[in-house]
Symmetry: C2
Subunit: 346 residues, 2 copies
């Protein structure tokens, strides 16, 4: 399956969802990966690559290494290997690897090509589309980076066979997100099909990628519509923050966040309780958490304002309108939000 | 005078060559400058700006501070002042300030707006057009950066009144460069008019900016034509390097480099000796150096290969074809180049 992405400036690239093909490059190639993926799949990847010169830079695994130091490690490797403006980086790993490789590619000699080969379900459906690259710093997540597009994305379901079950669920959460906000037919299909089946997961990835691609093509720089992709994230970020990023995977926090956003939608009459229950049921089918115990409702509310997207002191909520549509709104009363938060004390 | 720049992706901005107008911004603004410019002109600038919040970050003066540390100082200031995606940076200084402010703007929250207010003649005619931003590292100059365009460039000749005479000449060298490579009428005009006159220098800036804008609009990412802007630079970079960057200003080294490129053009029959002499005469009118003593011709030649643009082991020379046209070629024999270099032992 191939999904073609065309950007507003008319550049374009393909997302291929299939077993990796052999790749031949008449230029220097650097693969950026981490020790986990390297141990499991690097031989498989390199057996598919024929390049003028191939080298690998392995960076530490984990969100805490997503910072400028690590970018400098990648760049250093590129300089040592005398990469020029025609050279190529390949991001081989999850979202952290993709974000950092893309950022490094964007600033090496003012920008060189890079290819995404995402290995987690989350990065396959989400991080490999949209051109968001970046790193964290002490002020927050993804605060330094660039919008920079890969020249190709290759999604090979083979890598999912070694993915821990919880990480698989975290990826499913993002798939459900795309369906709830933009595509009711896709949501019905998800209710009826088992994503543990390899053919089904390929279809689901393709559908998610297509949907996200459509959204991004409308709004590359996140001025409007694209904000809808943050459905579940406004709440999810607070949950991740409250739990020091060590309790839930990002996708799991988004799962809970979607359940909260749905409760808000029901509260203000945008969604029926029945539709909200359907979303919860679908998430729970893949063991994605949908409950959370908010200890201090006021404190949780204040946390919204620490998010970079709220620097102007307004919180934008992405609220589903039934299933398959949504609205981005800054006009929800604090009272309504507090009331909904009070419902989360399981 | 206003020169409009339209980029291949159809974004567009104006370069205004005139006394600074009052500017009103309904957003946070950070001015990036250095102590020299700050002491001379910051009050003048801030008297023209009305912003939601205005702050100034002063970074050390000089090419040796054009590095990642300084970028982090700028970003730190932006985070401390809680700039958001709608905020604005203003680069207020020469090329170093412009390159770094542009790079910082390109990576702060994945890109915020910036305006160039260049204060040296060199940056007015050259660095403020083309979207090249970046920093140096131990491997070389401008090796990390981004192509990132300002939303506006304001060129106020007022700042030239405090510019040291040598720096003025270094700027003229870049003006001459544009004329020799692309515009014979402009070259004749330069021969006939004194650029120490304020109205004349405005015309010369506008003409240079227009020419460079045309070149860049054809080739934003420097794949072809834009390389012609490196006329004089292939030689100039070696001169700068041999003299540890402490003998000649960049524009001065380019002045000598153009004289060398002209000698090469005469050697291979692209230019008459008479035209070559006209260029030399124009440069010398503004006390721009045109002679240089090469001690070791072979060593000078080897230095070409250390330039990042030659990582593939081919040197591209930009050779003028008469006055007003040029050719980019990698097909000049080492013998011819050596022969020309031998002529420089004044």
């Amino acid at each position: 399956m191939i999904v073609n992405i065309t950007l507003p400036d008319n550049t374009s690239y393909d997302i291929t969802i299939d077993t990796l093909k052999n790749m031949t490059f008449d230029r220097k190639v650097v693969v950026v990966t981490n020790p986990t993926i390297s141990a499991l799949h690097l031989d498989y990847l390199t057996s598919k690559i024929d390049a003028k010169e191939l080298s690998v830079v392995t960076i530490p695994d984990g969100e805490e290494y997503k910072r400028m130091n690590t970018i400098e490690t990648i760049l250093e490797h590129c300089f040592e290997h005398k990469l020029n403006r025609s050279s190529l980086l390949i991001a081989f790993g999850g979202g952290v690897i993709g974000d950092m490789t893309g950022f490094a590619a964007s600033i090496y000699q003012r920008g060189i090509d890079f290819i995404q080969i995402p290995t987690t379900l989350l990065s396959q459906v989400d991080a490999s589309v949209g051109g968001k690259t970046g790193i964290n710093n002490k002020y927050g997540k993804n605060l330094i980076g660039a919008f920079y597009q890969p020249i190709a994305v290759n999604i090979d379901p083979h890598f999912l066979t070694t993915l821990p079950k919880r990480e698989f669920g975290a990826g499913i959460a993002e798939i459900v997100k795309m369906a709830v906000t933009f595509n009711s037919d896709f949501f019905k299909w998800l209710e009826e099909n088992d994503l543990n089946d390899e053919e089904n997961i390929k279809v689901a990835i393709a559908k998610s990628v297509e949907t996200k691609a459509w959204v991004v093509s409308q709004d590359e720089k996140e001025r409007g519509l694209r904000a809808a992709l943050n459905y579940g994230h406004t709440f999810g970020h607070v949950i991740e923050n409250e739990t020091n990023y060590d309790t839930y995977l990002h996708g799991e926090a988004v799962g809970i966040g979607m359940t909260m956003a749905n409760a808000l939608a029901v509260k203000i009459g945008y969604m029926t309780q029945e539709d909200s229950n359907r979303v919860t049921a679908l998430l729970e089918k893949y063991d994605i958490p949908t409950t959370y115990n908010i200890k201090d409702v006021e404190d949780f509310y204040e946390h919204f304002f620490l998010d970079k997207k709220s620097l102007d002191n307004k919180i934008k909520f992405i609220v589903p309108k039934g299933i398959g549509d949504c609205e981005i709104t800054a006009n929800i009363s604090k009272e309504d939000v507090i009331e909904v938060l009070k419902g989360f004390n399981s």
